[in-house]
């Protein structure tokens, strides 16, 4: 799934566009525990979480996570923005809470798999 397209469709604000442009993910994991996020992170996984902290940035860097979606309209921690730009991560912020954001992502995911616009 194309990340720029996903951000547009779930109404998320893009903080860092990542590089190279047009990066995609083939897996999404949502969670609010560092251990869970660490376990499920991968180089093709979008992490959706309410945790905006230096620890999340560290997990993303260690596991080469290509994209993070923070929820609740929060401002990302400076460490996350810095790391995202340095590592080429796609960083977006959804104004919706974790549950609603997951619902939107899931809808987009199904639409993309079934060829809907």
């Amino acid at each position: 799934m194309d990340l720029t397209d996903l951000a547009r469709r779930i109404g998320a604000r893009v903080v860092a566009e990542g590089h190279p442009p047009g990066r995609t993910v083939d897996r999404v994991y949502a969670g609010d525990r560092i251990s869970d996020l660490l376990t499920h992170a991968s180089p093709t996984t979008l992490l959706v979480t309410n945790l905006s902290s230096a620890l999340l940035a560290c997990v993303a860097e260690l596991m080469d996570v290509p994209a993070i979606c923070l929820v609740g309209g929060q401002d990302p921690a400076p460490e996350i923005i810095t790391k995202a730009r340095a590592q080429g991560m796609f960083l977006m912020v959804s104004s919706a809470d974790l549950f609603e954001t997951c619902g939107r992502v899931h809808r987009c995911w199904n639409d993309s798999r079934h060829g809907a616009a």
Binding site: D32, R33, I34, S35, D36, L37, L38, T39, S42, P43, T49, L51, S53, A54, L55, L56, C58, V59, E61, L62, M63, E79
Partner: protein, 170 residues
């Protein structure tokens, strides 16, 4: 064969992950398979975070040999009572009860809250910590795992990752 040793500061999440990053660099430089690197980093970061959360400080020592990496993470902390049972039975729902007080590093939001008797407090949970999954995750990710802990005398976690892709069952 190569070795490295990295100090781990207790209490400050902003500095967490430095030892694991060094391990990652060494493993990638050695050409380790991505799956093995991933498992090693999962175990290393959990062990490093245990030091950050529960101890005044510690260190990570790693020995990279042909086909394997042996990692030891030791700390100067409160130790873990009944450590064998905890390593076997850690679960996401189990409360951590081994936290003791230690000096706070600063007043920033990235400092692990120190006051806890009977479990991590709400601020630690807000950082996504304290799920009680750390030891179980290390054990699951590793090819060999051992932990020694003396109440009041610190904890030493050792694990080995074989540098080959794990065979998938079935």
């Amino acid at each position: 064969m190569s070795r490295f040793s990295h100090a781990i500061a207790g209490g400050d999440c902003r500095r967490a992950g430095a030892a694991s990053r060094q391990l990652k660099a060494r493993l990638q430089a050695a050409g380790a398979p991505p799956d093995a690197v991933r498992r090693a980093l999962l175990a290393a970061f959990e062990a490093e975070m245990n030091v950050v959360m529960h101890a005044r400080g510690g260190r990570m020592d790693a020995r990279l040999a042909p086909g394997r990496v042996d990692v030891e993470v030791s700390d100067v902390g409160p130790g873990i009572p009944d450590v064998g049972r905890r390593a076997r039975r850690s679960s996401p729902l189990r409360k951590q009860r081994v936290i003791r007080e230690y000096p706070a590093a600063s007043a920033s939001g990235s400092v692990v809250p120190r006051r806890s008797r009977g479990g991590l407090d709400a601020a630690a949970r807000a950082l996504g910590l304290g799920a009680g999954m750390g030891l179980a995750n290390i054990r699951r990710a590793s090819d060999a795992f051992a932990i020694d802990s003396v109440p009041g005398g610190g904890t030493r976690v050792r694990f080995t990752i074989y540098l080959k892709a794990r065979e998938r069952p079935g």
